[in-house]
């Protein structure tokens, strides 16, 4: 009888545990957490979780000595934090470094609110990953970097070469297709980490390193002897890079999209981090609308943000041109030209919808 009682107590205890566990799970289940926008969640939390690349100089890079984040994508995270909270503080923006493997799952599981991490916008990713992509903030293309002493100038010269790439990227698919279509033999060596990939290339495991051109330029600038490597002129794919966020959240999508548009439009108007204050009393109705000056010029309030959100962004990071020059431009170690990423008025593809 005593044993039976003990048994019953155990069974009851287990049952209670199970029920408690189930109940504790219910409120956090994605099925039930629907309805609210990520914008509300971020506001409530007081912190923006931004998924970035941790190891590509120029785009997302954590300085090991100073502990400072820097890079093009990192600045867009700052812009978004400024748009939501008014300013960027040490507490309201959390950078989450992600590998190529982790990045999309991190968005799906809401580990990050938005992804600014050299992610290419493709049909299958947009359709199947449960993600939506925002406006492209960097038009890239896949290139090939080879050791200069090999004397290769075109892809056809690379028959029999060993190629290092990042595993699980569109890069891998493109290089496979490019080599197969030309009927070339090659060895593909897939690495998980960007740093491991470039180390393998620099230490002679591969003849070729393939990735987005901008990343190759960044990795070359970070190498011991940048002159030992050349970028081939050929571009084998289109790589439009932009923010990604959870699908079907229109309010959040508006906030991210118009943050990107804001820095582009600011460059078009010539508004910079330095001269923003001189525009606060502008007579130009287009700029007044853009900056949301006065009661008759609703701006941020149309998408659930503070009316002065554009000014907050510019004060925090500057306009698109400033972000580019600071992280990727000719004066930086990465040393990239604007090219396709010039404003549309200068023959590039950077173009913001009208602010009215």
């Amino acid at each position: 009888m005593y044993r039976l009682a003990r048994r019953l107590v155990y069974a009851g205890f287990s049952l209670a545990l199970v029920v408690a566990f189930v109940v504790s799970l219910l409120p956090t289940s994605p099925a039930l957490a629907q309805g609210g926008s990520i914008l509300d969640e971020v506001r409530q939390r007081g912190v923006l979780n931004c998924g970035v690349n941790g190891g590509v100089p120029g785009f997302g890079f954590l300085d090991a000595e100073s502990g400072e984040w820097s890079g093009f994508d990192v600045d867009f995270c700052r812009a978004l934090a400024a748009a939501i909270f008014g300013e960027v503080t040490a507490d309201n923006l959390q950078f989450v470094p992600l590998t190529t493997q982790e990045r999309f799952t991190a968005v799906q599981t809401k580990q990050v609110d938005v992804l600014f991490r050299n992610s290419t916008w493709t049909l299958s990713r947009d359709g199947e990953l449960g993600l939506d992509f925002g406006p492209t903030n960097y038009y890239d293309g896949q290139g090939l970097m080879v050791r200069a002493d090999l004397g290769a100038t075109t892809i056809e010269d690379l028959d029999g070469a060993s190629i290092c790439s990042l595993t699980g990227t569109t890069t891998e698919l493109n290089i496979t297709e490019a080599m197969e279509n030309r009927g070339l033999t090659y060895e593909l060596v897939p690495f998980e980490q960007s740093s491991e990939t470039s180390a393998a290339f620099q230490e002679g495991r591969c003849d070729v390193l393939t990735s987005d051109q901008s990343q190759l330029a960044g990795l070359r600038s970070d190498s011991a002897d940048p002159g030992a490597y050349v970028l081939l002129d050929e571009i084998i794919s289109k790589e439009p890079l932009g923010p990604a966020y959870l699908a079907n959240d229109s309010a959040w999508a508006d906030v991210v999209d118009w943050t990107v548009f804001a820095v582009i439009q600011a460059e078009e108007f010539g508004i910079t981090q330095g001269n923003i204050d001189s525009f606060m009393t502008t007579e130009d109705p287009r700029i007044a609308r853009f900056l949301g000056l006065g009661d008759d010029n609703p701006s941020g309030s149309l998408i659930g943000l503070d009316n002065g959100f554009v000014a907050n962004i510019i004060r925090a990071v500057g306009n698109y041109g400033e972000i580019f020059e600071r992280n990727l431009g000719p004066d930086t170690p990465v040393g990239l030209e604007r090219g396709l990423n010039s404003l549309w008025t200068n023959g590039g593809l950077m173009y913001s919808p009208p602010w009215r």
Partner: protein, 399 residues
């Protein structure tokens, strides 16, 4: 008196009510628990499925038949990225995993047994080296060891292919791979194989016959003296009959890489070597424990009977130690098989790496990981089954 007896009888036959019947209650408790477990699992799975569907991510195993699109160079001479589906890519990845696991298991066992025995040696140098080896490899993380071996090998070996270390028989070793000649059977090779098989059969038959002669007459068996000529003779006959059974494809240095021949990539070599070195340290300790569990009286008895050191180890100690060694050895085998998934860190295209690529390209993380877990589970269960069978064969038999 009779009243009392009948009262006693009545109480004995009175049915126990079910809520007090221990047999009923035991069953009820278990049924309730089972229902709770099933309900709990159902809620979890339903929650997952609903949640994924709500985020436009319904689990879809159909992605497995889609095109894979990425080249798998590792160990696959005929992998065609145009034709490969995700499923065939997973199988190609599994082949690579098995290439590592099978060689790794064999290597770790041999090295582990050797070091385990050396650990107990009376030779100071041998013993100290073994102890240092075990402590070093057992107490550092495998991932660190893999990086160390991979990067270390890369930096130590010649960078320029023209400077490759060259071993006799056209073997070239450099940072990228070990290139060696590929020996392929021609059309007439089966004749040679038949010759070898015949020779092997005769040799085994001779061995049995000789041991029987030894048992009956006490004359030395001299197995090798009889069997070897039979094996060599029949093999040579097969070779002559088939003409030239093999052709050799030598590696030749091209612009970028060696072409022709076969190769073991640096990633494969580093991963296999790393797994062998790491697991051997654990196996060595298991072997040592097994040997030490054999009572010392057995050793003394063997010495008294005039067994040599090697005979004693082979015939007396190891057979008894094996019974204790096999179960924990199985655990180490499973560890090695599962640890092979760390190859992704050093660019090895195994089944885990392939699954990661598919998951990243399709977004079907749940479906892909279910398939991957099934593959690893099948591999582990196979190893377990083999080890259990071995354990059964080695069990102590009472006569």
């Amino acid at each position: 008196m009779s009243e009392r007896a009948s009262a006693f009888d009545r109480s004995a036959h009175q049915p126990v009510p079910p809520w007090r019947d221990i047999r009923v209650l035991q069953v009820v408790a278990q049924v309730v628990f089972l229902i709770a477990v099933v309900a709990f699992s159902y809620i979890l799975i339903d929650n997952l499925v609903t949640g994924l569907r709500a985020s436009n991510l319904a689990i879809n195993f159909g992605v497995l038949t889609r095109s894979f699109g990425t080249k798998i160079s590792e160990g696959q001479m005929d992998f065609d990225p145009g034709a490969a589906t995700n499923l065939t890519a997973l199988m190609a990845g599994l082949r690579n995993t098995l290439r590592v696991v099978i060689v790794g298991l064999a290597g770790a066992t041999v090295l582990g047994v050797f070091i385990g025995i050396a650990r107990l040696s009376t030779n100071f140098l041998l013993r100290t080296i073994s102890v240092s080896y075990i402590e070093l490899f057992r107490n550092t993380p495998l991932l660190v060891q893999l990086y160390f071996i991979y990067r270390g090998m890369r930096l130590a070996l010649p960078e320029s292919l023209a400077d490759s270390y060259t071993l006799p028989g056209s073997i070239y070793i450099n940072r990228r791979a070990i290139n060696f000649p590929l020996i392929q059977g021609t059309d007439s090779a089966p004749i040679f194989y038949a010759g070898v098989a015949l020779g092997l059969g005769v040799a085994v038959a001779l061995r049995f016959w000789r041991s029987r002669v030894q048992d009956r007459t006490g004359k030395p068996a001299r197995v090798l003296y009889w069997s070897l000529p039979a094996l060599v003779g029949f093999s040579a006959l097969g070779w002559l009959l088939s003409g030239d059974p093999f052709q050799v494809d030598y590696p030749v240095l091209g612009t970028f890489n060696f072409s022709g021949g076969d190769r073991l990539s640096a990633e494969y070599t580093a991963l296999t070597l790393g797994l062998i070195l790491y697991t051997a340290a654990f196996i060595a300790d298991i072997v040592r424990a097994g040997i030490q569990s054999v009572p010392y009286g057995q050793v003394e008895a063997a010495r008294a009977q005039g067994f040599s050191g090697g005979q004693m180890l082979r015939l007396i100690i190891l057979p008894q130690a094996l019974r204790l060694i096999i179960p924990p050895l199985g655990n180490q085998y499973l560890n090695l098989a599962k640890n092979s998934s760390l190859g992704i860190a050093i660019g090895f295209f195994d089944v885990y790496n392939v699954a990661n690529v598919i998951s990243n390209q399709t977004g079907q993380a749940v479906a892909v990981f279910v398939v991957m877990m099934a593959i690893y589970l099948a591999m582990s269960l196979t190893i377990s089954a083999i080890m259990n069978g071995l354990n059964y064969l080695m069990r102590a038999r009472s006569r």
